[in-house]
């Protein structure tokens, strides 16, 4: 906001507004009028680097009314002209500002682009972090906004103040200049009038001395003058003085408009802002013009008053304003920071604590100080946290107790069950010696003890998953060999159902990191399930691998499933048709255990089914533990069905690993929790089958 001298483009000269001041005008009136009409003084702030030129602008565009010594009729025309001049001045000023702004803009843009090319990454990082800060920190946002608003207010107030001061300074000087001029012109005229016109040299001496006296005594020049004979008048013979001016000055420093006004008027006094050279610099000044007559010749006499001191004062005041404004803005920023910190820090503390609470650190509490709103917030927050903690702990204890109970019961049951089983078997082995009733009883006992035992084993397994004690014991192994092994194992069952089990696998081995005991159990469960629901039709097992995953799909062509059924197929004790008799005596936990085993491997276990079209279960495992499966090597929807295409009742259940730690004992949540990865795969599977977008993602409520 430094405001050096008003400088403008060369064309300003043409815009000089000229003020008409009549000799007798009272200064205060003039000043007041000037102030009201043209608030912008001549000391406008300007860009220091802008091209230097004169802006001989007048702040006091206003004219005074007719002076006391003048008839009022005289100056209406000048007043209008001055009004127009005021407008022109404003327009001109606007243009000037636009121009300056453009220059500054170009420079700043250039600087920014140079800086940006060098510091671009750093700046980008800075901007991004600032933006992040802006978004994430209420305090930062508040402080910054306050600071911006404060700076803007200071800018407005500062501009207004500096403008007012400039105006006042100028007006003061102008009034002084006008009265001094009036006095000096009178003095000169008196001297001239009383002069004896004798010879040339004495006349010249007289004129020069008189004029020099105007400059004032002492080392400081109080005012400068330009003395010029009016053009276009008959030149008397004895006119020896044509023009005279103070050092370095010529008539060209006087704005043409001023000269014109002086020339055209009678004996009125006019003024204009101008700029004149002193030494090597140009200084702002006020030129006040009038006419004097000497020896029958009319001369224009302009007295030029230096505004340099006023400009310096103004500069200083502006500097002080600027510095004061900056300090005040900083102080306001600091105050805003302090105040918002007081308000925001408890809030951010609460946010931090609730984040920790949400992350499971239930013992976290807020610090409560005092009795204000923040303290109330803290107290009620802590109350909430405490009751939450209590409930969660209670639930966790209950759940733990329940799991522990199931586990203990299962274990305790095992020893007597072993005895019962051995006894049953001994009886069963000896059934040949029994009568028919006892024989049948022994058989029933034997079979049901078997069933009871498998149920117990499955329950124990599930309770182990629920208790979270199941661990993965993964080692590299050949999954093709494992599949063959499973097929051998189920061969007797397959023969019983009359189903043919076929294998479609690549030659050689596929080495996978797996817990073979669990994978064996998953596959056996899948195959037994397929046989049970396969209605004697063939069961196809496919094995395939890609870069990072291997898949085993078990396809049957039996009764199939509806979407709703497919969604529940991994539920515990769930059966598609409760009325349907159990034929294999399975526990109803087989597929749930398979799902848990898969989850332990971070694998995918998914089911597809169509009513009457059979079902397809697909197990996908990462080749190496810890790797992420991106795509299963086999499609979930079997190719044979996909080619038929039309199936609107197509469905599948996606049961994937969910990375969240298990918190409940419902396997059902897995289906829902893992649907993110599954959906991606579902799309791939759907597209692979040539029916994009038809695959339905069957998930179910976690409740």
């Amino acid at each position: 906001m430094s405001a050096p001298l008003d400088r403008g483009a060369p064309e300003n000269a043409a815009r000089t507004s000229v003020d008409l001041h009549e000799p007798g005008v009272t200064a205060p009136a003039s000043a007041a009028a000037d102030e009201s009409r043209a608030p912008a003084g001549p000391f406008e702030p300007a860009v220091p680097t802008a091209p230097a030129d004169v802006e001989p602008d007048t702040a006091g565009a206003g004219t005074t009314g007719p002076g006391s010594t003048r008839p009022p009729a005289a100056p209406p025309a000048p007043r209008l002209a001055v009004l127009a001049d005021g407008w022109q001045s404003i327009r001109f000023r606007t243009r000037l500002w636009v121009k300056r702004a453009r220059i500054v803009g170009v420079r700043v843009a250039r600087l920014v682009s140079i800086g940006a090319s060098r510091l671009l990454p750093g700046i980008r990082y800075l901007l991004r972090s600032l933006h992040r800060k802006w978004r994430r920190s209420l305090q930062f946002r508040t402080v910054l906004t306050t600071l911006m608003l404060a700076i803007a207010s200071f800018a407005v107030v500062g501009a207004y103040l500096s403008n007012q001061i400039a105006n006042n300074l100028f007006q003061e000087r102008l009034v002084q200049a006008e009265s001094e001029t009036r006095y000096n012109v009178k003095q000169i005229q008196d001297t001239f009038d009383g002069a004896q016109v004798t010879d040339q040299s004495s006349v010249i001496t007289l004129v020069y001395d008189t004029l020099n006296a105007v400059e004032g005594r002492g080392s400081v020049i109080q005012r400068r003058y330009v003395f010029e004979a009016m053009p276009e008048q008959t030149k008397p013979r004895n006119r020896w003085v044509e023009s005279r001016a103070s050092d370095q000055l010529t008539i060209s420093v006087i704005p043409t408009e001023l000269r014109k006004a002086v020339q055209d008027s009678g004996k009125e006094q006019f003024w204009a802002s101008t700029e004149f050279p002193v030494g090597t610099e140009d200084r702002p000044g006020i030129a006040v013009g009038n006419k004097v007559t000497f020896n029958g010749t009319v001369y224009e006499l302009y007295l030029i008053y230096d505004l340099n001191t006023a400009q310096k004062t103004l500069d200083e005041i502006q500097n002080v304003l600027l510095a004061g404004g900056a300090v005040l803005a900083l102080l306001i920023g600091a105050v805003a920071w302090y105040v918002t910190r007081n308000v925001v820090s408890p809030v951010s503390h609460a946010a931090l604590v609730s984040e920790k609470l949400a992350a499971g650190q239930l013992q976290e509490r807020m610090v409560v100080k005092g009795e204000d709103e923040v303290a109330r917030l803290g107290a009620s927050f802590n109350h909430m946290a405490a009751s939450l903690q209590e409930q969660i702990t209670q639930l966790a204890t209950l759940s733990q107790m329940q799991q522990r109970f199931v586990s203990d019961v299962s274990h305790e049951l095992r020893t007597p069950l072993t005895t019962v089983r051995m006894a049953a078997e001994v009886l069963y082995d000896a059934r040949g010696d029994f009568d028919p009733v006892n024989k049948r009883s022994a058989e029933l006992l034997y079979n049901q003890v078997e069933r009871f035992q498998s149920l117990l084993a499955d329950l124990l397994e599930i309770s182990r998953f629920d208790a979270g004690v199941a661990t993965l014991d993964a080692e590299p192994g050949d999954i093709v060999q494992l599949v063959s092994h499973v097929m051998e194992g189920v061969a007797p069952v397959a023969a019983e159902y009359g189903s043919e089990v076929t294998l479609n696998a690549p030659a050689g081995s596929i080495i996978v990191d797996m817990d073979d005991r669990r994978i064996d159990r998953i596959l056996r469960n899948l195959v037994l399930n397929a046989l049970e629901h396969g209605e004697g039709r063939p069961v196809n097992i496919s094995v395939a691998a890609n870069d990072n995953a291997v898949a085993v799909a078990v396809r049957d062509h039996g009764i199939g499933m509806t979407p709703a059924e497919a969604a529940r197929v991994f539920d515990r004790f769930w059966r598609a048709d409760p009325a349907r008799a159990r034929t294999t005596g399975g526990s109803g936990l087989g597929l749930s255990i398979a799902a848990e085993d898969t989850k332990l491997h971070n694998g995918w276990l998914q089911a597809w089914g169509r009513k009457g079209g059979g079902a397809n279960f697909r197990l996908t495992l990462a080749l190496r533990q810890g790797e992420k499966i991106t795509k299963s090597p086999l499609q979930l929807e079997p190719v044979d069905v996909g080619l038929q295409g039309a199936g609107s009742d197509r469905t599948m259940l996606l049961l994937d690993h969910s990375p969240a730690p298990r918190t409940d004992n419902d396997t059902g949540t897995d289906a829902a929790g893992g649907s993110g990865a599954g959906t991606r795969d579902a799309r791939a599977a759907g597209a692979g089958a040539g029916v994009p977008g038809t695959a339905e993602t069957g998930t179910k409520d976690g409740s």
Partner: protein, 224 residues
């Protein structure tokens, strides 16, 4: 001669039932219901095999197993209600040769007992070498240089099985069949634990085995 079998189990009904089954199959059972007395009974009865329940009042099965193993190479088969890997491995590491998870079938129990009581093969005088380890098959001796290495019969059998066919990679199933005598794969963890135990005795650095090598994804083979 009837093989004598010590049954250490605190559940009287189960112990009696096991006794019935064993007697049916021509064994002579001896009973002990308390872990604290197991070692005394073992010393006085001199059984050919021990059936040991893992959970016992007094001293638990793991400790009993360790005590017996400290003074005898007699085969020990664990009976366990917990089939968790950690329990099984702990049992095997304390010196048991095999384990049977409850509930088991009588036939299964008898098969395991018979497998462990298998009369030692009539071993021809034969000397095998794996890496820098020498095995005297007939003399049941294993040594590295002049240093004797003491192995249980099961570990010895495992080492001999590997050493006889140094060119062959043994899957765990194959080892179960050849060393333990199970036709249908029981639990391959048996093999893992015993290989580890064997390694801890015969390898210079069990972390970088030279005698028993792992073939990733397949099984084990003898070092050259």
């Amino acid at each position: 001669m009837k093989a004598r079998i010590l049954v250490v189990d605190d559940d009287e009904a189960l112990a009696e039932m096991i006794g019935i089954v064993l007697r049916n199959d021509g064994f002579e059972p001896v009973f002990c219901a308390d872990g604290g007395q197991a070692l005394e009974v073992f010393r006085s009865a001199k059984p050919d095999l021990v059936l040991l329940d893992l959970m016992l009042p007094g001293i638990d099965g793991i400790e009993v197993c360790r005590q017996i193993r400290a003074e005898s190479d007699v085969p020990i088969v664990m009976l366990t209600a917990k089939a968790d890997t950690s329990d099984v491995v702990r049992g095997l590491e304390s010196g048991a040769d095999d384990y049977v998870p409850k509930p088991f079938k009588p036939a299964e129990l008898v098969a395991r007992v018979r497998a462990r009581l298998r009369p030692g093969d009539q071993k021809a005088p034969e000397t095998l070498r794996i890496a820098d380890v020498t095995i005297d098959v007939a003399g049941h001796l294993v040594s590295r240089g002049t240093e004797r290495i003491s192995l249980t019969p099961l570990e010895f059998d495992l080492l001999v099985a590997l050493a006889r066919k140094p060119w062959q990679v043994f899957t765990r199933e194959l080892l179960l069949e050849q060393v333990w005598g199970y036709r249908h794969a029981a639990d391959t963890r048996l093999v893992n634990v015993h290989v580890q135990r064997l390694r801890s005795k015969i390898e210079r650095d069990p972390e970088a085995p030279e005698v028993v090598l792992t073939v990733r994804g397949v099984g084990y083979k003898a070092g050259s």
